[in-house]
Symmetry: C3
Subunit: 160 residues, 3 copies
């Protein structure tokens, strides 16, 4: 692929609210000006594309629940980072609304509308016991690492 | 831009002391050998370029205060990561001094001297209610995501 | 280097179990299909290539010990992220075994077999007081930032 057909690819590893906001802000910002955009969801990032009543990353409490599940049912102690993200996203969302900035859900909708290519990581799905039907239908495909790197080659690639 | 005019671009998202050290170490190391270097400060990373008496990232306590503010005034419990970074930076700085490695402030000064291009993220500024005049004068411009990706295209781009 | 001789470079900054798994999954996945792969271990990531009885990142407890050492001997309080990673890796490893996915140690062995180039960051070694002989013999060289960026130029570069 030539350098002048611009491409942005993101390996979305984190399940943190702020980092997922960064993923979708970059993706939509690039797609809006004509970039080909590819997102490869892996590990905690897979939570962003899981089918749920409501989105998994809407609020810290659901994320915390997921982490709780991952940890074998142990409840995460309410301190530090996790406590932070139990409170932080609400403030972020409030600030976003107040300042007329798109919220995370709106950014995801925009990414879908702008035809951002969303892929799920095969290996992480094996580890976590997830299947293609666990994800929202907009997920284009399940890929291995090498296939994704071939897609992203020749553009800017970020690990978030 | 041709591949042989070398370029390094960094999306500085984190406000952590160690990651900001990595940002400026990479930036100055690349600029010193002739790379064009662009840094796009966003979210927590914006703290690195805020005007203050002293730099925002000098020590964990100020960072903690910022997080405290972001969290609606709640004091962060003194454990884990934040406690770690309340103590960690002091040790780092001590080790840096002892081993004649540039400290973070020195790295920032060097970045300015080496004409590293520093930009602030427009969207994050809206969310956080920050204005251009809140930043140190060396910040070159306020940019949107798409404009920064056009600047960084054709080089190595990192998300830190 | 031409764009068509594919290259993946990773700046391995994190010492977290999940992120190191991501580093070696990406590295081996790319090397297996013919990519030139370079990893630059720096800061906490250096722990991954330290000589030890057993690998440093096998289980959270050793990592925690390293952090404890870094913090001047203070024991990290058993909450949040560090507690999480004291428990998390065991579950991950169990899931990995159960689902026939390579474990981290197997991924490191595979990286060595696939001739992934592993480098240690000179500056971080100075700060942390480490020497080349502290690392496993498969570490190819000790490099500065600029030298590594020249190696990684023209490919996909990730900061993890």
């Amino acid at each position: 692929m030539a350098k002048d057909s611009k491409k942005l690819s993101i390996i979305a590893f984190s399940g943190d609210f702020d980092k997922l906001t960064a993923v979708f802000t970059l993706a939509t910002g690039a797609a809006a000006v004509g970039y080909e955009v590819n997102i490869f969801f892996t590990f905690w990032g897979l939570d962003a594309i899981k089918k749920k009543k409501g989105r998994a990353f809407v609020g810290g409490s659901k994320l915390t629940k997921m982490f709780g599940f991952m940890m074998g049912g142990l409840k995460v102690a309410p301190n530090s980072k996790f406590n932070f993200w139990g409170i932080g996203p609400k403030i972020f969302r409030k600030l976003m609304k107040k300042n007329n900035v798109a919220t995370l859900e709106e950014l995801v909708e925009a990414a879908i509308a702008l035809e951002v290519n969303m892929y799920a990581c095969e290996m992480a799905m094996h580890v976590l016991g997830l299947k293609k039907e666990d994800f929202i239908p907009e997920v284009k495909d399940v890929l291995g690492v090498a296939t994704f790197l071939n897609l992203s080659d020749g553009g800017q690639t970020l690990f978030i």
